[in-house]
Structures are given as structure tokens and as C-alpha cells.
């Protein structure tokens, strides 16, 4: 479904992504892992068009998307959440999601109809799905950290994506919140038939959820494969897991 081929990106001669490869099959839950600064977020930014690769290709459903602006890539069916929760703090929780739903329905530029009566059902369904319905009228900026992260995902769902990219969905969460969030993500993947690509620091979470794991180190892809294979890979153990498990 998504194929990243030999992608490079440098900032002021620093190679943030140095020939990364990634394959995501339809319906899979794929994790990208790697130490801090390995280039995971940059890779996600390259896939979603926030950054343009210096070299290499990103292909989604057989179509090259590496040169498209973010809003066009979103229209192709890739939605994302951000590592640092980036919501719309001055809008209500409801409106946060509604903005995405309206965008999906191509109604963002409607001028003379009250937005209050539009896309209400779809928005409420998403809020109910992620468990934020009671907080629909709260200002998003006043939510707890955990709810921010959930709202992030809810906004991404507003685009009815085929593929969801989550940048550290459980960052800063308590263990309880982490496990409930991962349960939510798995459920969403099943009920909505979503393909999910995420990166995560918590190794337990990654090896328990992902069907395929890609390991990045210094911007390079070391290996991508099934969790067992990755765990047993010598290079990975040297670069990353060895240090963590020791």
C-alpha cells in the first residue's frame, strides 16, 4: 500500500534520513522504532508531505506522492497525528474534529451555511468511537494530556483515512493510558479496516501490537520484518535493543 524507497533528507548537511526503506501492506499495523534522533519523525514528515525528500520516492497505492503538498496527500487517504499534540486549543473538542470532517466532505470553503448543523453526525460518531463524546463541548486546550493525544487521533479519523500515521501516540502517557490507547488503536484498525503506521519508544507496546517492525538508526533502515525476526537480528541488537535490554 505504501512504499518508501531509498529516501534521503538532510538539514544543513546533517543527514536526518539517510536512505530509508519502508513497506506497509494493506491492513497491517507497522511500527518504526529507533533511538532518539534516528529520523523517525522526519520520515513521517517526508511521507505526509510536510517535508520534501532530497532523493528517493514515496509511493502510495501505486502513485508517487513525494512531490505533493500535505493537503493533497491527505486527500489521497493518509491522515496523521503529531508527536507533540497539535490540536486547535481555542476550539471545542467537537469543532476540532468537525474541521477535519468538513475538510473531508470538501465543505471547508462553504461560506453562508451555519457550521453548527453540518457534519454533526459524523463528528459525534468519531467522538463516541474514541470516547470523547462527553467532552465534546469543552475547549480542546483545557483537556488533559492523555485526552489531547486521543483527540489527535480523532482529528486524523475525521479525514476517513485509509492509512493512519501516528507519531508516538502514547508519548507522555501513564502505563494505564498507554495500554488503553493501544487497545483503542487496535480496535480502530480492525473496525475501520485501517492500515496503521506508528512509531513508539515503548518496546513492549511495539512487540505486542505491530505485525511488522522497521528499525531505523542514524537515518538508515537496518531491517524491516516480523517482530520475532527483528528481535533476533544481530545488527538490531547491537544498535538498539542490546543497549535497552542489558
Amino acid at each position: 500500500m505504501l512504499k518508501v524507497e531509498k529516501v534521503y533528507k538532510s538539514f544543513d548537511k546533517f543527514l536526518a534520513v539517510n536512505g530509508a526503506d519502508l513497506t506497509v501492506e494493506k491492513g497491517q499495523l507497522v511500527a518504526v522504532i529507533g533511538p532518539n534522533g534516528a529520523g523517525k519523525t522526519t520520515l513521517f514528515n517526508l511521507i505526509t508531505g510536510m517535508l520534501k525528500p532530497d532523493r528517493g520516492r514515496v509511493v502510495f497505492n501505486g502513485e508517487e506522492i513525494s512531490k505533493l503538498p500535505p493537503h493533497d496527500i491527505c486527500r489521497k487517504g493518509i491522515a496523521r497525528s503529531f508527536q507533540i499534540a497539535t490540536i486547535f486549543p481555542r476550539l471545542t473538542v467537537f469543532k476540532n474534529v468537525q474541521v477535519a470532517v468538513l475538510s473531508q466532505q470538501k465543505k471547508s470553503r462553504t461560506l453562508f451555511r451555519p457550521a453548527d448543523s453540518m457534519a454533526v453526525e459524523e463528528t459525534n460518531r468519531i467522538l463516541a468511537d474514541v470516547g470523547l463524546l462527553e467532552k465534546a463541548d469543552d475547549l480542546a486546550g483545557a483537556l488533559s494530556h492523555g485526552d489531547h493525544r486521543i483527540l489527535e487521533i480523532a482529528i486524523a479519523l475525521g479525514n476517513e483515512p485509509r492509512m493512519l500515521i501516528l507519531d508516538e501516540p502514547t508519548a507522555g502517557m501513564s502505563p494505564d493510558e498507554t495500554s488503553s490507547t493501544m487497545t483503542l488503536i487496535k480496535r480502530l484498525a480492525e473496525t475501520r479496516g485501517l492500515t496503521i503506521l506508528f512509531c513508539e519508544h515503548d518496546m513492549d507496546v511495539v512487540f505486542n501490537t505491530a505485525q511488522s517492525i522497521m528499525v531505523m538508526h542514524y537515518g538508515k533502515t537496518i531491517v524491516q520484518g516480523k517482530p520475532e525476526d527483528v528481535k533476533n537480528n544481530v545488527e538490531v541488537q547491537d544498535a538498539y535493543l542490546g543497549g535497552a535490554d542489558a
Binding site: T48, M50, P70, V99, S108, R109, L111, M118, D137
Partner: protein
């Protein structure tokens, strides 16, 4: 209609205010009627700016330029081109919107302060044209005694004319503010990167907002000419832009009606304190300082927080309130 920012208990307060405003010329001396008309024109200008500043998060530092374009287009088409007055009236806001489009097209390529810097320079260019092109605009002298139809030459009839268009613009702006376009614009203000990630073409959206806002600034410019029957380069000067920016902050830039209040306060200060001292801006400055310390969201913003935000008031979280002094 679900009203939140415009009023609290349905439409009644608005209608009552409107009736009062219609009755004012009968009970008030002519001078106050004139001041009210000035407030409407200024308020319309400030509200059009607030569409960008408060709801769009765009630092449109030199918004008065488009007010001037509207006023000058009207003055020139009436005096030089001799077009029928209704056509001049129609063309002028579009001329302002066109100027807004041309300048905005460059500005939306930049963000935050850089946007503001480019906007103020390009806007000043328009001022320079009005100031320097003597053969067309009479430069510093301005154009005076612009002929307008007899039925709006008296101050009272001009008042009604201005009130009529002010209310129409207000309703249209309110609908825009509540529309998907308006909600999306506010989302862009809060987080442009997130918006592009949900499939919104941020630049195009911002440019549309600029065109709409400059159109309304153009309407305000025309109304100014109706009221004063003259134009001069000060209408496009950056000082006026700063003044209306202050009105937005003063009234409450995250509220819909805040700029009206800001305009009313500023115009009243200028008129009534201006009688005693030419340093009335000193008082405005002191008010502004107090405002920043005690009411950072403006006067209207303070009340909106205090008494809830429309339909969300019951569940809206009580936010830190440090305005009790």
C-alpha cells in the same frame, strides 16, 4: 439561529438595540448622530480587520490601506469617471478586494511577523500612490465636496444609510464567522500545520479570508465618503491601521462583536477627550496598558469568559480568571 457571540438570550437584545439605533436621530442632537455614524464606519473597518487578526491569526498590520482604496475608488469614480452612483458604490469594495488579493497573494507565502512586515510595506505603497500621484488624487490636499445623491447628504439620512449597510455587513460577517469557512479559518489560526494535515489548503484559505476582509474594508471606505464627502491620504496611513488594530485588542479580538466596542471606546475618547486635550492618545495608551494586565482578551473577551461562551457555557471549563483587581 443559534446565537452565541452576538447575544446571549436569543435575538431580542440585538433587535432592541437596532430599534434604539433607529430612534436615536429623533432623540439625540445632530452631533451625537454624526459620532454614532463615525463609530459604525470605524467599527465595520475594525471588524473586517478582526476577521483576519482574531479569527485568522494573520497579522494584517496595514489594513487601512484597503479602506483607503475603497474610499478613493469611490471618490474617483464619482468625480472623474462620472459613473452612476450605484455602480461606483458597487465597484469600490471590489477594488479594495482586488488590492487585497494582489497584496495577499504575496503575503500568504510568509508566516506570522514576516507576513505582517510584507503586508505593511506593500500597503504603504498604496499610501504612497495616493500621496504622490497629485494629478489623480490631489495628493496631500485630498478630494473634497464629492457629490453624492441628495437623499443621503444630510447627516441624519447618511446615518440611516450607514446603519443599514453596517447591519447588513454585520449579519453577513456573522454568517461567515459561523460557517465551515469561518470555523476552518479559526482552526488555521490555532494550528496551520495541523490544518494542512487534515487536507486544507491553508494559503488558499487565508487568501480567501483576506479578499473577504478587504472587501468589507472597502465598504467601510465608501461609507466614510458618504459621511464626510471627502478623501485624503491619511485614510491609507499606517497610523490608522494601528488604531484599528488597537480597537480589536481593546474590544476583544477573539469575540465577534468586540471590535465594535473597541471602535466605540476609541472614537468616543478621541471626540470627547479630544475636546480638552490633543493628547487623548495618552489616555488610550494608559487604558491599553491596564488592558494588557487585567483583561488580556479585551473587554468583550472578558465578558464572554465570565458569562460563558454561548452554547458551550454550561460545560466550558472555568478558566483562570485574573481580572479581579
Amino acid at each position: 439561529m443559534q446565537n452565541s457571540a452576538l447575544n446571549v438570550k436569543g435575538l431580542w437584545p440585538s433587535l432592541l438595540t437596532l430599534v434604539l439605533l433607529i430612534l436615536f436621530p429623533i432623540i439625540l442632537p445632530q452631533f451625537y448622530v454624526y459620532i454614532l455614524a463615525v463609530i459604525f464606519v470605524t467599527a465595520l473597518l475594525a471588524m473586517s480587520l478582526n476577521l483576519l487578526v482574531g479569527f485568522g491569526g494573520l497579522f494584517q498590520f496595514h489594513h487601512a490601506a484597503f479602506y483607503g482604496v475603497g474610499a478613493y475608488t469611490f471618490a474617483l469614480t464619482v468625480t472623474k469617471a462620472g459613473w452612476p452612483i450605484w455602480l461606483c458604490f458597487l465597484v469600490s469594495p471590489f477594488a479594495a478586494a482586488l488590492a487585497g488579493f494582489l497584496i495577499g497573494w504575496f503575503c500568504v507565502r510568509l508566516t506570522s511577523l514576516y507576513f505582517g512586515m510584507l503586508q505593511i510595506s506593500l500597503g504603504s505603497l498604496l499610501w504612497a500612490i495616493a500621496f504622490r500621484w497629485y494629478s489623480l488624487t490631489k495628493g496631500d490636499d485630498g478630494i473634497h465636496s464629492i457629490p453624492i445623491p441628495g437623499f443621503i447628504t444630510s447627516k441624519t439620512s447618511a446615518y440611516y444609510f450607514i446603519l443599514f449597510f453596517f447591519v447588513i455587513c454585520l449579519v453577513v460577517m456573522y454568517r461567515i464567522y459561523k460557517s465551515p469557512f469561518g470555523v476552518t479559518l479559526q482552526a488555521i489560526r490555532d494550528n496551520p500545520a495541523r490544518c494542512s494535515a487534515v487536507g486544507i489548503n491553508v494559503r488558499r484559505h487565508q487568501l480567501t479570508a483576506i479578499v473577504i476582509a478587504t472587501f468589507f474594508a472597502g465598504v467601510a471606505g465608501v461609507l466614510f465618503v458618504i459621511l464626510e464627502q471627502s478623501v485624503f491620504p491619511d485614510l491609507l496611513f499606517w497610523v490608522l491601521s494601528l488604531e484599528i488594530f488597537i480597537m480589536c485588542l481593546l474590544g476583544g479580538w477573539f469575540t465577534f462583536t468586540g471590535p465594535i466596542l473597541g471602535a466605540a471606546i476609541t472614537v468616543s475618547l478621541r471626540t470627547f477627550v479630544g475636546i480638552y486635550t490633543e493628547y487623548w492618545t495618552l489616555i488610550l495608551g494608559v487604558i491599553l496598558i491596564l488592558l494588557i494586565f487585567f483583561l488580556p482578551e479585551g473587554v468583550m473577551g472578558f465578558f464572554a469568559q465570565k458569562f460563558g461562551r454561548g452554547r458551550n457555557k454550561s460545560t466550558a471549563p472555568a478558566r483562570e480568571q485574573h481580572a479581579e483587581s
